[in-house]
Symmetry: C2
Subunit: 265 residues, 2 copies
Amino acid sequence: MTASTVSPVTTSPAAIRRRIRSGAFQGHTGGQAPGYLQGNLAILPEPYASDFLRFCVANPKPCPLLGVGEPGNPHLVGLGEDLDIRTDVPRYRIFRDGELVDTVSDLCHVWRDDLVAFAIGCSFSFEDALLRAGIRVPHIAAGRNVPMYATHLETNACGPFAGPMVVSMRAFKPRDAIRAMVLSERQPLAHGAPLHFGDPAAIGIADIMTPDFGDPPVMADGEVPVFWACGVTPQLAIRRARPEFAITHDPGHMLITDRLAEQGA
Amino acid sequence: MTASTVSPVTTSPAAIRRRIRSGAFQGHTGGQAPGYLQGNLAILPEPYASDFLRFCVANPKPCPLLGVGEPGNPHLVGLGEDLDIRTDVPRYRIFRDGELVDTVSDLCHVWRDDLVAFAIGCSFSFEDALLRAGIRVPHIAAGRNVPMYATHLETNACGPFAGPMVVSMRAFKPRDAIRAMVLSERQPLAHGAPLHFGDPAAIGIADIMTPDFGDPPVMADGEVPVFWACGVTPQLAIRRARPEFAITHDPGHMLITDRLAEQGA
């Protein structure tokens, strides 16, 4: 069964990648190709690749690996036959020595034979599952980005890659929070079950209204904050490692893969 | 494969039922035959049976049905070939017009041709799963009964059967609470995922330190109370319906079945 038999051709992962590749689609990928895993992107020169790979494996909640490329190869086995990591993400960030130096829509001019691409699961597919279950996801309902926080939880360090666990937060009434925990646990490649709920200070968040990344939270009376491991964790680890060259996706502009979220594990 | 191939003969459900039947085992059944579903017991005269059956089906979280007998038949299909509901529970309570009139270890002298037996899932098997996962269950660690509370959540009424949802409470640090929610959800016949966590007042519990049934809770700093639907719910509904005759198990003295908890649904 191909994707086109389960959803209109225009929303299949391959069709959206084609539109991204041609420049016809340049926006956020949230809500596109529902049911398919989307990925955070990290691209590093080969000397950093094995430490980063070990870092992802040692920190599977924030860094669930969807795919790892061969040096210089822009394809990622199993994520889409046509997939070209140089063109199939709507927007990329380029870092030199840990500093953001450019934001681009195509990597062809900067691609090198020593670059290794990593696709890391993101929360969009579990948010799809919550919405399908009739659970209101506050930041989506408000048209905002999810609030994200650096915590005092430490990742497991590997070589130069280390640093704080970053979490994303969604607030729910307890009944929906329980359902959200159960549903997200079924998607280990989309960060799985949450790490924490309730008291933000218990994981080192001083002020929940002031996230470190994303937009301020939307929280109503009686709602409990629930915290999931977040794909910004490896991005922080990369910035902290200060590799001479690195590429990531621009937040919200993810890699759309052919991998079904619920066949994820 | 028989039960005796996966665990010592003395801890198989059939072996424990034999010991109960003979009077050699008279105690609480918690921790016996781990991995097998245990059941709350309700026995009602036939005129009440169809309303009570509908009540269980309409309230699957507090009343997950494991088995329903035919009128006058002390066997329950699928729960154990040898099983005799008149002798295989360590202690029974006998009610007349909704009032407790006797506690007995054998129903042979009160059994009637019009009695219908209901076995309803209980929390023991999901507690086994928590313990196997290395999660400390506070009341078990303290050697107490679980605290239980009548809430302001209403069951779905069927005929004379109605009344408040009763919940049991176990407190955990958030990380273990998340795991407990996920693990319990895998056992829908043992009440499944919890109904609520956090603020007791939100479900009508005025004082968490004063449960309506069971022992006072054991709660440490930073632990969050988590509330599961409880098999006392149908017992309250039966007392409220005031049938001329009814039998239940005595709390903690459950029916041990041959049904595996994790093939439960």
